[in-house]
Point group: C2
Chain length 269, copies 2
């Protein structure tokens, strides 16, 4: 396998990766991001997504990815071995697998009246939360994720790590204003609202058509703008002693209650 070694932080390629690692606006501008770890690399291979480049830690790479990496190298993917210190500057985790794939991402325009289920993130800030939410949504069969301008980047290396490959099974839209949801998706807009509305479990038929589940940030919850476009507000009946759920847990509860109802409806047909 051929590769180029990079030992200086003045190297232009390294500087570009460092910028991708640190600056989510640069990710958008370049249409590229960094996917760290054996799991993500294997997912890319399974989904036949060829990386733009492969970056290795000089100290060595997890054996798991050997075959995949050799094949891509044979197919002409550029490979780079970085000094440990340089690698660690662009890795989203401290003790990683020693391999990063640079992957291209392309932004598509919002659809019009699309007939699908959607998860909408309204100001969710933490990249780890964002990644977990994408993973949970895809597992629940919701493969379209849209996010407001003040949410964390869906494509940051940290969000990718937490997503565990779910990003590549989903369609993702960033900088989506709540007022654009109605035109983009032909679906019932549901607000997950800890402060009021009706009981998630007792309310019938909210899942009858496609839905856009809107989830807010920890603390403030959904914005007024999001609440104002909601067709329904639903709350999870948590016990009184406890004030709220983490947004990842709340989304899991709502999206899987939707899945449960859909599966049951299928069985009854």
């Amino acid at each position: 396998m051929r590769y180029q070694t990079i030992q200086s932080d003045a190297n232009a390629k390294f500087k570009r990766w460092k910028k991708l690692a640190d600056n989510t606006r640069f990710i958008k501008k370049e249409g590229a991001t960094l996917a760290e770890g054996a799991h993500l690399v294997l997912t890319l291979s399974e989904r036949k997504i060829k990386p733009a480049a492969l970056i290795f830690r000089a100290s060595g790479v997890s054996d798991e990815v050997g075959d995949v990496v050799r094949r891509w190298s044979d197919e002409g993917v550029d490979c780079y071995v970085l000094d440990n210190k340089l690698y660690d500057q662009i890795s989203p985790v401290e003790h990683g697998a020693g391999v990063i794939a640079e992957v291209r991402i392309k932004e598509e325009p919002l659809p019009q009246n699309a007939d699908c289920d959607v998860l909408y993130l309204d100001g969710v800030q933490d990249p780890g939360n964002v990644g977990t939410l994408i993973r949970t949504a895809v597992a629940a069969g919701v493969t379209v994720i849209a996010a407001s301008r003040d949410s964390a980047s869906l494509w940051s290396p940290k969000a990718l790590r937490a997503g565990m490959g779910a990003h590549f099974a989903a369609r993702l839209y960033e900088n989506v204003d709540v007022t654009d949801l109605a035109g983009a998706f032909d679906a019932t807009r549901l607000a997950a609202d800890a402060r009021g509305g009706s009981d998630l479990y007792e309310t019938p038929n909210w899942e009858a058509h496609h839905t856009v589940w809107m989830m807010g940030a920890e603390g403030p919850g959904l914005s007024e703008a999001a609440l104002s476009v909601a067709d329904k507000r639903l709350y999870i009946p948590i016990i009184k002693d406890c004030e709220s759920l983490n947004v990842g847990a709340a989304a899991a509860v709502c999206l899987f209650e939707q899945r449960r109802r859909r599966l049951q409806a299928k069985t009854l047909k």
Copy 2:
């Protein structure tokens, strides 16, 4: 308000807090931990748990906690102001609220044949995950949490932060062997098992009695030992394209499906 300032890392009190911050075995030995942030401090106040000491960042403290802190100081709680650099060494988060409460924790022996719902963590390693799991369990009405020896500390400052106060509404048991669950709790042992068993939604009556939900680590899942003591293995019917859920999301789905069924049973009575 009276307080003592600490400016040297050679100070004995500082050294002890640093050890509590870094070493979970020391937490156990001392029977004390550090609760950082305005939210945890307010929760302690609401639950009438008086801290052993209050630690402030020299740069200032969130206004929210002013009244609570003054009251405790009047009641004789020792207050300390730490140089920013020292404070940051013992804080579990980078940009905290500038206040940490040292709280006493006491370990109780496992009960015998207790009649209650339990969440059992089998090798869950990440302190953030552990905290979120405790929060989710309490919100779902499951206030007893037990953890295996190879799980992360339930009482680490990071787990406390992620728990958002749920720790103080729960009973927690650490170093619990799976083989001790049967004697301790008079409850059906349910294994959340991504690899097999029966469908969480289609299987009836698993919630009829009290339950011990057993959750494994990301990746390996439940240990053989845990599977071998399970009365039932249940899986969440995620879509095929996706391999698994994060343990926090999986627990949210299982514990709230239990809550849904219990609430529905109550309504039907």
